[in-house]
Each structure stands twice: as C-alpha cells, then as structure tokens.
Point group: C2
Chain length 712, copies 2
Amino acid sequence: MVDTAPRTSKQSPAPTRAPAPPSPTASEAAAKTASEPAESTASSPRLDVAALGRQLLGTWPEVRLAARERAARPELQRIEGLTMAEHRERVLGQLKILVEEGAIQRAYPTSLGGLDDHGGNIAAFEELVIADPSLQIKSGVQWGLFGAAVLHLGTAPHHEKWLPAIMSLEVPGAFAMTEIGHGSDVASIATTATYDEATEEFVIHTPFRAAWKEFLGNAGLHGKHATVFAQLVTKGVNHGVHCFYVPIRDDEGEFLPGVGGEDDGLKGGLNGIDNGRLHFTNVRVPRENLLNRYGDVAADGTYSSPIESPGRRFFTMLGTLVQGRVSLDGAATTASAMGLAIAITYGNQRRQFTASSDTDEEVLLDYQRHQRRLLPRLATTYAQVFAHDEFLVKFDAVFSGKADTDDDRQDLETIAAALKPLSTWHALDTLQEAREACGGAGFIAENRLVGLRHDLDIYVTFEGDNNVLLQLVAKRLLTDFSKQFKDADAGAMARYVVAQTAERAYHGTGLRRLAQTIADFGSTARSVSELRDEKSQRELLTDRVETMIAEIAGRLRDARKLPKADAAAAFNRNQNQLIEAARAHGELLQWEAFTRGLARVEDEGTKQVLTWVRDLFGLGLIEKHAAWYLINGRLSPQRAQSVTAYIDRLIERLRPHAQGLVDAFGFGPEHLRATIASGIEQERQDEARAYFEEQRRAGTLPVPEKAKSKKR
Amino acid sequence: MVDTAPRTSKQSPAPTRAPAPPSPTASEAAAKTASEPAESTASSPRLDVAALGRQLLGTWPEVRLAARERAARPELQRIEGLTMAEHRERVLGQLKILVEEGAIQRAYPTSLGGLDDHGGNIAAFEELVIADPSLQIKSGVQWGLFGAAVLHLGTAPHHEKWLPAIMSLEVPGAFAMTEIGHGSDVASIATTATYDEATEEFVIHTPFRAAWKEFLGNAGLHGKHATVFAQLVTKGVNHGVHCFYVPIRDDEGEFLPGVGGEDDGLKGGLNGIDNGRLHFTNVRVPRENLLNRYGDVAADGTYSSPIESPGRRFFTMLGTLVQGRVSLDGAATTASAMGLAIAITYGNQRRQFTASSDTDEEVLLDYQRHQRRLLPRLATTYAQVFAHDEFLVKFDAVFSGKADTDDDRQDLETIAAALKPLSTWHALDTLQEAREACGGAGFIAENRLVGLRHDLDIYVTFEGDNNVLLQLVAKRLLTDFSKQFKDADAGAMARYVVAQTAERAYHGTGLRRLAQTIADFGSTARSVSELRDEKSQRELLTDRVETMIAEIAGRLRDARKLPKADAAAAFNRNQNQLIEAARAHGELLQWEAFTRGLARVEDEGTKQVLTWVRDLFGLGLIEKHAAWYLINGRLSPQRAQSVTAYIDRLIERLRPHAQGLVDAFGFGPEHLRATIASGIEQERQDEARAYFEEQRRAGTLPVPEKAKSKKR
C-alpha cells in the first residue's frame, strides 16, 4: 500500500514525490487561533488527518495518488496568461505526454493494451482537473467521448481498425453529437445519414444551419476524424440517431471535401480546447463506418437492431456515454475541495480588524460570517466525496459487466443525473465564495480560484444541462411512484399519472406522526438531541422527497384525461417543483453516502468530528428547506429555530478542525499552486507583528492622536 | 427633450444615432408564443415600452443617452481575445478619446472646465460598462478615485496645480489606499508619512511587506503619480490616515528613487486595467503635497484639523469617496439588465423538445422553470433601476451641496453600503443564470455573458467588501435602534447596546396583530388579495428588518457588561444574522423605490404590468425568507403556500411581457453585441421549419421507424 498521508498545504513548497508526514501543526495552529466555546476547547476531539485522507481517496486510492503525482508536474499544468492558440497547443502536447506514459489506456480493452478498468480510469482522469481543467476535458473529448463512442457503440472490427490510432492520439477526434439547434434534445438532431444501396455508402448531410454540429472539442483545429451522430435513413425509413465514423481533415489539417466548419473562438474558460462547429454536404462514408453495436444496415439496405424499441435503443446508446457525467461529478468535487483548501488556509492566517483586543487583529476564520460562508460548503464537499465514490463503484460495476442489468444501467443514469447537477453547481458556488472570502487576492489569477471557476462554469450545462438532468431524475421518481408511466414526453407523462393517493403509499414511515409530536416538545435540548439523531435527519430528508413527488403526482393525476397540449401545460405548471424534488433526491443520496462513509470511520476523534460535519450537511439542508418543513408541518417553528441554533453550534465546534478537514483532501502546494495559500500571509503577519513589537519595545511607535488628546 | 425611445434588441444592427421607434412587434411576437392562461390572454394589458424606457432612464436621461451613444462606438468597445498587454493599451487609448470628447470633465469644477455636475457624471460613467467594464473602472480609477482624491481631499492650490493634468490624462495616477495587509480596515494601514521639520517634507515609508499598496489600478504600468494614504506622523503623534500626492514614475515609466512595485498580472477579469503594487522607501514629498482639506501640518510641524475627532475626521475623508459605490450599483444594474436582455431575447426564440404538440418544439421561455429562472431576476433588476436613480439623486444633493448635512452624508453612506452589495451580487447571479439559460452558446465569448461576469466578479469585494458593507449597515440600524452606540468597534457596540424592549418600540405598526389574523383566513382568494396589497408587502418587509434588529439588540443588551473580548464574542455570535438583517434592509429600500417609481407610471397598461413586476419582486422576497415569516408567526403555513402559488400566477401573467420589459432597457444590438440575441436563432428556427414543411409537402421526409412498424 502506498503512503497516502495528506500533505499540509500550509507550508512552502514541500519536496515533491515524497509525501510529508501528516502535519498536525496545521490544524493545531488553526485550533490555537480559534475562538471556541469553553465546552469544546476542553474536550475537542483529535482529527486523524492522515487516516481521514486515506478514506477520502476512496476505492481507487493508488490510481488517484499516481494521477495526483502526475498532475503535480509543471509540464502538465496550466500556465496563466497564455493566448488561446498557445494554450491549445500546450494542452495537445500534454495529451501526448499522457499517451507516452500509458496514462490514458486504462479503460480500453486489454487486447489493445488497455486494462479494462473503468472505475480506475475515471478516478485517474478526474484528478487531471488539478493540473488544468482544459487537460481534463480535452482528454475526455479524445478518449472519453470520441474514443468511447468507437469502443461502446462500435464492434470488434471498429476497435481493431480505429482504436489504436485514437489511443495513440495519432488521430485526434471530435464527438459530433450536439447541433446548434439541438443540445439537450439529442433525439431531434437533424443531420442525416442516408444509405445508398448503389454504392454501399452512407451519405452524411447537414440540411440547414441549425443542424451544424456545435461546441465540439477538437473540431476547431486538431480533430482529424469525428464520431458523427445522425438520423439513420435507409429505404425511406428513419431509424433514429446512430453514430458514424467520419474523416474530417486531411494530414495538412484542411477540411476534406464536403466538410466545413468554424472555430468557436474564445470561451468563458477551457480555452485549452479547440471547440468548433462542423457541417457536412453529402459526405460519403463506407457502410462499415456505421458504429453498429446497437443497429446495423446490411449491404442491401436492410436495417436490423438487437433492441427492437427505437426509444430504448436510443437511450441505450446514449447510456454508454454516462461516464462523462461520472467524471464531472468527481472533478467538480475535487475543484470545490481545492477552492476550500485555498480559502480556509488563507482565512486561518489572514487577519483584519480588532474586536476582542486592542492590538491583535482577528483571524478571518474566527468571524462567524466567514465560518458560515465556508464551513457548510466544506460539509457539502465532504458529502460529495463520499457520494462520488459510491457512484464510481456503481459505474464500474455496470461497465465491467459485474452488475449490468437494465435496472443497474437505469439506476446509474439516474444517480448521474442527480449528482452531476448538484456537484457542478456546488463547485461554481464554492469557488465563487472562496474567491470572495480571499478578497482582491482571490481575483488575481495566480491564486487560481478565478481560473478554476471560469473553467468549471460550463460543467453545469455540458454533458447534460443541469436543469434537464434534474427533470430526468424527477420523471424517474414519478415513474417509480406510479409504476405506470410508459412514455417520457411531458404530455404522456401527465396523462398517464395514475390515481394513487399520496398518503397511503408514502406515509407508512411514521414521519407525519413524528412531525405531530415535534410540536409538542417544549425543550430545546430535547429538540437538538432529536435533530442530531441520524434517523431523524434521514426521515426528514426522505419525507421531503417522497411527499413532493407524491403531491406532484397527485396534481398530475387528472391530467391524463386532458388533450396533449393541456396535459403538457399541467406538467409544465409543476416543472419548477419537480426539479426541486429531484434536487432533494440528490441531496438525500449525498447524505446517505456520507452517513455510510461515516460508519466506516474507526478513529474515535475523527468519527466525532466527521459526525459534526455530516450533521452540518444534513441540518444545513433542513435549514435551507425550512419553509417547506414548516408549511408541511414537519417542523414546529420552535424546532426550525433550533436547527439554526444547532448549526451555529456545530460550526463553532468545527472551526478548530477546519484546517485539518481541508488538509485531509491531501493537496500539496504543488497541487494548489495558489500564492495566498502558501504560508506567505502568515509570514507577512508575523513580520508586521514583529515590527510593531519592536517599535513598542523601543518606544518609537508614534502615539495615537486620540490617546494623546486624552492625556492632555 | 431628446427622443428616448428604446430600441428593440431583436433586430439586426439598426442604424446607430437614430433611435428606432418603439417596436411593439418584439413584445407582440413574444406574446404570441406565450402559453398563457385564458384569463390573461383575453385581457392582457398593453405595455408602453417607449414610455417605460424613458422612465427607466431616470433623472439624467439625456446624459445617459449620450453616454450610451458613445458606448455604442466600436473604438470604445472591448475586443474579445486581446492579450492583457494589448487590452491595457487599448483601454488607455480609450481614456484619451474620452478626454478629447469632453466626456469626463463633468464632475470637476467649472473653473477648470468642468460642470460641477456630480449626479450626471456618475450617470454617464456607469454607461461605460456597456462598452467595456475595464473602460468604466479605469476611468473610475483615474477620475473617480485618483482625481477625486485631489478634488475632495485637497484644496484650491492642489486643484489648480494638479487637476488639469489629471483631467487631461497627462498624468495617469493610482489611488494608493489598500495595502496587502489592510483592505477593509483602512484605518489600520501601516504606510507612514512622517513630517520632517528640518526640510519641511513628509517622508513616505513602507515598513514591511504587508504595508505594500496593492490592487491599485494604474500602478502596474501607466501611473505617474499616486494619491497615497498613510498614517500622518508629526511630533511623535500619529494623526491617522491622510492622503498625499506622490510622484511615482518618471517620463520614461521608470520608478522614481525609493519607489518600487510589482504588476498584479492577470486577473479574473478587468484585464484592461494595469493593477499593481507599490512600496516606498523613505520617499520625500514637500509639505504641500498633503491633501489638506481635513487635516494640515504647519511648517513647524503643528497639526490642525477642522474636525476635532480623529474618528469622525477619518470617516469624513473616506466619505468623499462614496461615489465609487454609487457607480458600481448603477453599473451592476446595467450589466444585469444586459444579461437579461440577451437571455430573454434568446429564450423567446430558442426552441427545444416537443411537449404540447407532435411537431412544434417549445420556446424555452414557455417552460415554467425557465421563467422562474429569469423573470424574478428581471423583477429585481427593475427594483434596482428605481432604487439606483433615487440613490444617485441623493448623492447629487450631497455632493452639489444642495443637502449636505452630516445626516445626509451618513444616510448616503448607509444607502451605498446597503445597495452596492445587493446589486453587485445580483449582477453575478443574474449573468450566471443568463449564461446557463443560453446553454453552451452562453459560454462563447462572442455572446458576452461570460466576459461581463468575469469583469463584474470583483465588484462584490472592491470599493468595500460586500459583507463588510452590510455589517456597516447593520451597525447603523443598531445605532438607530439604540441611539446609544458611540463607538463603531464590535466590543464597544455590544457593550453599549441599550436595554430596549423590542416589542414596545418596534411593534406599534400593528404587524403582529396582522399576523395573528392571517392564520384565521381560510380562503386563498382573500389571502392572495392581501398579498398583492402594497401595504401588506411593505409591512411584511419592514417588520422583518425591524424585528431582526430588535432581536439582535436584545441579545446584545447584556453584552455591555462583559469584558471586551467576551462582548466581541457575543457580537460575533450574531454577525451572520446582523448581515442578514442589513440585507433585508437593502431589499426594503429597493422595494420602496420600486413602489415610488410605480406610482409615477401614467399609462394604465404599463402600470398594471409594472405592478405585477413589483409584486413579483416583493413576494419573491417574502418567499425567499418564508422560513423567517413562518417561524415568527407573520405568515401562516397556508398563506406562505399561497405566496408561492401567487408568484407562479404572476410569472404566467408576465411571460407575454418579458420581451417588452427587457426592450424597455433600451439596449440596441450595438450595445448588447451578442450574436445569440441578434435574431440569428429565429432565422435558424425559421429555416429549419421551412425545410421540414417543404419535405412534408413533397412527401420526401423519411418515415420514423416507430410509425412504420405500427403500420405493419
């Protein structure tokens, strides 16, 4: 087993490669500065940062550590201030390094030099975000989308013919699915691939401007081939979206005949990737270029598929691409952890304003507001780390074939659609709060927070728009609730919602009864002890999801009798709440995963601290949704108030452990690379303090006018 | 009176300079696509976009329109993708254009070619954000900070000697207040200006690294002089922070002896400005270089000031710089309006997924979730437009001397500290939501949303960190509440909070009684009619501010008996809620301003629509804080639920007017300059639709497999 001890981010550049021993000094130093209530000072538990760090590495710790060592190498890292052209070339070069070092082959078949290791592959891939999100996403385009389309949608002859050059980067490629006119609604893309029996070719064609392929990584500049999604038409029948392997550029980088495109130019981030547009004018490819795992066309134009239902076939094909969402969940969580490591380290050293003494300024993290801004986000990040690892294990089971039933795949997709939106939004929110918590320094590029935020911005709308994904989750929840939905479109959904009473099916858990009694509690102490009870938190969080879904299902029940347009309108009037219900479901998944992770902690002090973190996460959710709990009689006003009071207490208790909790993420200075988190602020504070002490000692400090006039 | 008719942003580039007539087609087109309830279709009021546009221009309409015409000129606009060096040079050149055209002199004395027009100056200055936020902020550094320090902190000889070269940009300058070690706490800066009687000079000195001046625009490259804030020391006494005029670079751009610095390099935005650091090693300036309006040193070293209290003197000096906050409030509101104009125009053309029919895809803005994402933010932006104009009028009154008592100045600063945080945070939130609402297209630089967001990021922490400003507001509210605070520091604050019962002083408004009766209402109709009543909204919003402040004051009452450290700890335990109370106060100010603006609307249809917008804003606040209203018995659960239901109804009613409401902001394509808001999406939709119609007509559209298999 490798040494997984996390490095403290508080010291100046540590020797790379040789992980330093866990540094209790960092958290101890932080603890010293904490203004904690007497209660917790006396008995504050000790956090085992090293052991916690090992646990946070999850199921593929060695793969992750190796990937982090790689991400710590300057030649793989982002340089701020490159032009777009320079950045693109640099990242392309970095991809070549990854190939040379055998870092990208993991998910590919052993027969082609891979390891058939899907979970490990994603674990390693996610860590690239530490080096440069452009590197992560350009790798993802090449091997996780373009290569993965050949791998998962193609068959053995395709693998043998094309994968070696894709794996070696000899052929950089674009994944041409999205069109200008259709992003979220992939089924409606308008590019056609019409089979020509005479020549045994498919004719790839873009019928109008809205059908141009758009936002494709590698399409702007480097891509030579593309996996193009198009409506497969043969014998006058449209068999729906299929994927075709299409050469797009010659060796000089010029578009091949019939192919055209544009560069997307500068973006809000990820400028190391050459996104662009593509269009096709009757471009012919051999029949064999259809990636035919889920649908094939014989020489005579006869279509066949192992999946009879066109709808199911479509979702099966798209389902093979779920890994993008898995990896974004992990990368977003890693980026959030980095932002918090930077802001909390700085907040533990930075001082501003005197409050409790006349001379010593307060450490930022001792301000309640500062704690409120950072610690709940830290708790959410912890929840995401645990949820992501479970998610990755599930993904690995499906893709390795260990547990790969239809149900497994559907569950995996629902988890992906629930977790990816939450974690990517959380990353933007957290990086922004971290930026603001570091003030002007947070805005300077060398402190990394703005760059990470710019790059991660697009994570919330690519690989599935977050709102659209959450709506998918909600539909699944409604389906589970009714077990009678047959069709995914909104009108059908609304029409087929069954007449099921919410109360009977969903309130066997005793939650309503619990809520009734809550109002009767008179004592805050009893109230708080209930709240920190794991079972109560679970029930409150579960109840909310179930009740919201049941209520919406109830409201949609009668819609099935309506004409399509009216049914769709009824569904639409519930859309906002549906998406909120899906979010609540995702939050519950995270809480459950955190709670299971907590159960595996052995060290007593660590378990105590982590329990507070979990409680902060769980009660934070309840506080955020307090209005719902109050309106629905699940919390009495008194108890809702005690939720906030208890959160304040948890934050006070966790304050001394803030540094340890971010140190446990295991980032070294070679990963964070933020000047303000290097210890420089502490050095400046120490220098300033020494200066004033010396002046006071020597009697050379000028007297303040106020003191002077008083003396008079 | 000039023609102030707003231009629709839906058309392709309109002829500049000749404002197009108000375009009802835009909102009518939007109305056609709306899925509105039968109720409002029949009787939907007509919005007079032109008249509303004129009202939104506020108190300085002609100045604003002229500034917008200027901002529409390409040579003053940002070019995406410039290197930092190119962008800096471009913006410097743009400043020269502003000088040549007499666009920056407005705030300066008539004796120097100015207009002594403070409100108009800010109105014009804010509009520069449309051209490039870097241009706005670099102008602000030169003429609103550096020049304004000379103007407001200096006296006639300084004005005559230095202002002409500052106004002409012959001397670009830095405003050297913030230090690495002290940003929010300006009083604690450590740079010293020690008077040397022998030579009648001040010695400017940086004692340690933390005292380096930091984040100064113009310091990185272009600045020749600087207004340096330092602790004024004479005869062994420190008289606190004063401002000195200090040359820093020679004509070749090299630092003068004793001056040093660093370039801040790349930032998260505003890269057209050369921010940098400065430090001073015993730099000598003549005694006359002290900007001596509020404090002077005689040749013999005797200090004198028209303001006896060092504290009041300090706050008076800083108070002269409030205009930065005024202009950020305006610019942030303008940027939010631009983001919404882009996203709503696009959302009115873009279609995705079929729901209510088998062929026609839904317009994005017809989705409830999409409406929920954009329309409440539009309502808030409207509130800000009205609040900002009142704020600017107040500012103008103080700075023109029309109403310039101590109370006026304090009120102005409190308003600034309340509004600037809300509007700058709102800008980031709105630009982000607009970006996401436009999907991948929102991430492309040419669509402007990401660039605006990057640039405005720093607005939330500069010219006063938002959290620190809100804490100032809260302290003012506590002071008003107690009338007994004498000192601004936290310990003192807590110690001196008076024993005042909340109930007696703050609940004479009958709100509690109102709340009691609310619970008794059984009817939703009655409940809703109460909610849309202006008086109810005002009472609910006012009550929350007052109750929160009274409660905190109550909790701090006993703290005055405690030792300083314990009192500070007590204050700190309420810090988060204090800041929330200040936010509530700011929201109330916005609501009140909106309501006053609404009262001035004459056109009946416009008044109706704008009333819905105001109600959406007011009830949106109540919904956001519903937990508080429920916990404190101000809303019954039933009524809290009807708030949400009524908001849903308001949004449905406003949906057909969304385009008109953003058109009324008056941005033309030359201002928005976002490809996706140019009408290109509508063209693409029309082209695609025509293609499919033609195919269907000709019978050449391939049959879907599903339909085919059914036929069999």
